[in-house]
Amino acid sequence: MSVDRIVLPFPFGSKSVHRRAFRKQLRHALCFSASPVIVDLSGHRTLDCRDINLLLDCAAQVTGRDSQLIFLVGSLAIRLVLDVVRISSLVPVLDAIEQAPDYGRIMREGPR
């Protein structure tokens, strides 16, 4: 069964105004989307302090909601950073968007 998904590109290294806009978009998507919201981190290989703070903020946004959030990473390096900061134990991390339909299984088995 295909599921409509919302994919939000992560605002790497952008200005605070763009980050604020991203937060707002994410909040809106989590409120009104019945399908998983995917934050797309692919195409980048490093995360700076602001990126990590924003990702932690994303993880906090989904806490206590029925909404579903997925981080889509494009490189092993990003996945490793997410493991180090323990975000991957809070939010499922996928390597490719094709894995997203497996979200139900991920939720049953828990994030990696």
């Binding site: 490093t46 995360l47 990126d51 990590i52 092993l76 390096a77 950073v81 180090v84």
Partner: protein
């Protein structure tokens, strides 16, 4: 002089390209070539081999750097072949082996070989004995048999040996040292079963250490941090509040920020290498780890290199170069 010993060190002249971040000068990329120079559970591999060489009754050894497994002899007036030695014991500092060098020397003499190389079931160990007639001026002696035209005799070694070429192999040696699988013991006091703490290490009351684990000299482990199992945090590190280090190694002078989890990884300053994939990650940009400036000057890109302390008088070797250097034992 009948026998002389040479220890060949990895060349640290330049960085190898980083795996994931070609634009970043990563200390870990140089670890790939110099992993054997880093302390392992507080022990220095060079010191271990030095002690074995001292056991042969030798009073000095030569140190030289070597690249591509080739030892260039006869070109430098300081090298031992210019000093009239008959036999040369060459140790390539890329493996840890609990080897009786005296037995290997007897084997070499009994078999009247030109070259004897120690090997185990996995191949050559980088320990050789050469007759001086093998070495002619200006010639490269290859420390691996495949590349040499000289007939070599294999000295079969059946004891504990571990090649330490990669951080993953280093971590395997750490695990063996912690569990007593090999003779290398962590340098410190055993506070609990398989938990070793170095001198002046500081452990917060709520920090948790799960054996087998090692915490090096002057390392600080803050509140809520967890070390172990199978973790080694070398000297002069800081593991900040709530951070977990398990099945992982932290190299000297590394500060790990609060609330992190290091698993199956090697952390060195602001970089991390995943032991499974070999991927190198820059953690400094995310303020997750950084290099602690040391008080003493350190060479070769933050690697805490070699320090041979002789029993009488200190002889420090801190910067391996391509030249030959004689060190008194």
């Amino acid at each position: 002089m009948e026998l002389a010993a040479v220890v060949t060190m990895p060349s640290l002249g330049q960085f190898a390209p980083a795996v994931e971040f070609p634009e970043v000068d990563s200390p870990i990329s140089s670890i790939e070539r110099a992993v054997s120079l880093l302390p392992i559970l507080g022990n220095k591999l060079l010191q271990i081999w030095t002690d074995r060489i001292r056991g042969l009754g030798l009073r000095s050894l030569w140190l030289t750097s070597c690249s591509h497994d080739a030892l260039h002899v006869g070109s430098d007036p300081q090298d031992p072949f210019r000093q009239g030695v008959e036999r040369l014991l060459v140790i390539n500092l890329a493996s840890y082996a609990e080897m009786d060098l005296d037995d290997m020397l007897h084997f070499h003499c009994q078999n009247q070989s030109m070259v004897t190389e120690a090997c185990d079931s996995n191949g050559w160990l980088g320990v050789s004995i050469l007759n001086c007639s093998v070495a002619v001026s200006g010639r490269n002696i290859h420390t691996h048999t495949e590349s040499s035209q000289v007939m070599r005799n294999a000295y079969p070694f059946r004891g504990y040996a571990k090649r330490i070429i990669s951080p993953k192999e280093r971590q395997e040696l750490v695990a063996d040292g912690l569990t007593g699988t090999c003779a290398m013991r962590p340098l410190g006091s055993e506070l609990a079963q398989q938990v070793w703490i170095g001198e002046n290490a500081s452990l917060a009351s709520s920090a948790r250490v799960v054996g087998p684990s090692y915490i090096g000299d002057r390392t600080i482990v803050r509140e809520g941090a967890t070390i172990g199992p199978f973790a080694s945090v070398e000297h002069d590190c800081v593991v900040d509040y709530g951070t977990t280090v398990e099945h992982a190694a932290v190299l000297p002078y590394t500060h790990l920020a609060p609330g992190l989890r290091f698993r199956k990884a090697l952390a060195d300053g602001g970089h991390l290498q995943d032991l499974e994939s070999g991927t190198i990650v820059n953690l400094e940009a995310g303020c997750l780890a950084h290099r602690i400036p040391s008080e003493s000057p350190r060479e070769t890109h933050g690697l805490d290199v070699v320090n041979i302390a002789s029993r009488e008088g200190e002889t420090a070797w801190r910067c391996p170069s391509t030249e030959w250097r004689q060190v008194k034992l």
